[in-house]
């Protein structure tokens, strides 16, 4: 990807704090270019979901952004008034969530929910939206789309619900999709199908994806770029192939050694060494010491 192509998503030095002043994002910078999948990988509490939420403008009220910019296709979200910001985010981004059941309204049929979303976001009429939805259900390889459209969420399997949400995410032709652990709750065989679908649609539509996951296996298969996150700080950033070839940061190396591999049981599942954690703590402390928010 040449450098002069404008990124779909550009996050520059983003810091966020909790009401008690504790930093939860530490000068995070990352970008996702058109047609690219960037994985955001880290353990629980690393802040990976929070970055996704910041992009989509749905951070919890307790988290306050104190520094940094987020640009979607060159437009600085911080410079827009709330209404314009919501409109921009709605039109150019979409979310594939971890748990499709909580993302869908349990008391409405799948078809009505999907159509409404397109009508609301893009101002399409119902007929056009209906046509588009059927086209996307076909793309996610749902054969009996008639039945699915008439179903309530609980009547579908987990894999089928995730297909529906992938269709919904791509239907409005967003430029950027935030995929937040979209396969974590699924069985491995279903996970593989869903990852395949996401990759296929991503290529066909040229969409940029910020792919949040805790699983380095998924990172290796789905992404071209990767940011490794620890305690709200990007500790390593690389092309995915390069990261697996030669991980630079001790934490990345430890995470790789901890990830289970059935092909190599005794070289994997290694507990993270105390010295690595001590090193990380020192790195975070040093970064916090040096950090002065530009405005407070």
């Amino acid at each position: 990807m040449s450098v002069n192509v404008e990124p779909c998503l550009d996050i520059r030095g983003l810091s966020a704090v909790l009401p008690n002043g504790q930093r939860v994002l530490r000068s995070v910078s990352l970008s996702v270019h058109p047609g690219e999948v960037r994985a955001l990988v880290g353990e629980s509490g690393a802040g990976k979901t929070m970055i996704g939420k910041a992009v989509l403008g749905v951070l919890p009220k307790s988290v306050r952004i104190v520094e940094g910019e987020m640009l979607i296709e060159g437009e600085d979200l911080g410079r827009l008034d709330p209404k314009a910001r919501r409109t921009l985010i709605g039109a150019r981004t979409a979310l594939i969530p971890q748990d499709p059941l909580t993302a869908l309204n349990p008391s409405r049929r799948i078809g009505a929910q999907m159509i409404d979303r397109l009508v609301r976001i893009l101002g399409w009429n119902g007929e056009k939206a209906d046509k588009r939805i059927r086209q996307l259900l076909d793309e996610v390889q749902i054969r009996d789309s008639e039945r699915v459209l008439k179903s309530y969420p609980h009547e579908l399997s987990g894999g089928m619900r995730q297909r529906v949400l992938i269709a919904a995410a791509f239907a409005a032709e967003p430029r950027l999709i935030v995929a937040d652990e979209p396969t974590t709750a699924l069985d491995v065989t279903v996970q593989k199908q869903i990852l395949r679908l996401i990759a296929q649609l991503q290529r066909d539509h040229g969409t940029a994806i910020l792919f949040v996951t805790h699983d380095l296996g998924v990172v290796a298969k789905i992404s071209q770029k990767v940011s490794v996150l620890y305690a709200g700080k990007v500790v390593e950033e690389a092309e995915t192939a390069a990261l697996f070839e030669a991980p630079q940061h001790p934490y990345t190396r430890a995470l790789m050694a901890a990830t289970p591999r059935y092909t190599d049981p005794y070289a994997s599942l290694k507990p993270v060494d105390e010295t690595v954690l001590a090193g990380l703590a020192a790195e975070i402390a040093a970064a916090d010491q040096a950090w002065r928010p530009r405005h407070d």
């Binding site: 353990e43 629980s44 987990g158 069985d187 491995v188 065989t189 279903v190 996970q191 593989k192 990852l195 395949r196 990759a199 296929q200 805790h214 699983d215 380095l216 296996g217 998924v218 990172v219 290796a220 298969k221 789905i222 995915t240 192939a241 697996f244 070839e245 430890a254 995470l255 790789m256 901890a258 990830t259 289970p260 591999r261 059935y262 092909t263 049981p265 005794y266 994997s268 599942l269 290694k270 507990p271 993270v272």
Partner: protein, 274 residues
């Protein structure tokens, strides 16, 4: 060949199918386990793997008799326990312990860690020397003694799972059912918990049924494996033999679906039509 601690023959379990329950009246029964035969050899860790709906958790619950089977025999130390009454099971409870997936929901939020570990000791007539026994249990799982006074919300996920293990092992059981005990944990914590369980099982000569959806974890920990699908055993055998030379297509599919942390551009390509 080690003699089995458990010998299971023709095990069937049927449970009410709530999705088909009429508004008034009983739900019809659905057969979850459809006739299983296997042994759990003494002192070994047996992995039970399957996807959701395979019946692996139901199997675990039948082994420790949280469920009564609808047919078949569960022979534990030479005695069929499949249809024992609650009163008859009581003296066996101490020998059949379990650790669950989510320590957050299986630890009482209003009790201190001391009381959580002490409760089963009291119930099983080991109420003497309580302090000593709880201290020993904490030490065994590598938690500081000060944790006895804490509550579950003050603990990390890994620490909570250590408490779960401490509680189960405090009774010096013969058998431990571990149901998805590392599923909710970060990989770095997973590794610690597995290493701990492996060490304690060897030290205490435990027989363990380790239920998991994760074949990589099973290969690392277990000496034998049972692969389940839709209430039946697909394939079973010694771990290395099963992984190196899986006989059934389903086992091969399961292995092929695991995304290994290594670059493989072909992995996501759709299968060529047969």
């Amino acid at each position: 060949m080690t003699e089995p601690l458990f010998s299971v023959r023709g095990l069937k379990v049927a449970l009410p199918d709530m999705t088909r329950k009429p508004l008034i009246g009983r739900a019809p029964l659905a057969e979850i386990l459809k006739g299983l035969d296997f042994d759990l050899p003494k002192g070994l860790i047996t992995g039970i793997v399957g996807e959701s709906g395979s019946g692996k958790s139901t199997l675990g619950r039948a082994l420790v008799r949280l469920l009564e089977p609808s047919a078949g025999a569960i022979t534990f130390e030479g005695r069929d326990i499949a249809h024992l009454s609650e009163a008859e099971l009581r003296p066996l409870r101490r020998d059949l312990q379990m650790i669950f997936q989510d320590p957050m929901s299986s630890l009482n939020p209003r009790h201190t860690i001391f009381n959580i570990i002490a409760a089963p000791l009291r119930q099983n007539g080991l109420g003497d020397r309580l302090k000593e026994r709880v201290a020993e249990a904490l030490q065994r799982v590598g938690l500081p003694q000060s944790f006895a006074a804490r509550y579950r919300h003050e603990l990390s996920g890994g620490q909570r799972q250590r408490v779960g293990i401490a509680r189960a092992l405090a009774l010096s059981p013969k058998f431990v059912l571990a149901d998805e005990i590392v599923s909710g944990l970060d990989v770095s914590t997973q590794a610690q918990i597995l290493t701990l369980l492996e060490k304690l099982a060897a030290e205490m000569g435990l027989t363990v049924a380790f239920i998991s959806h994760d074949l990589s974890v099973i290969r690392r920990l277990c000496q034998q494996v049972i692969v389940m699908r839709e209430g039946r055993i697909v394939e079973a055998g010694a771990t290395d033999a099963l992984f190196d030379n899986p006989k059934e297509a389903y086992t091969r599919d399961l292995l092929a679906a695991i995304p290994l942390p290594e670059i493989d551009p072909d992995w996501l390509r759709p299968k060529a039509p047969a």
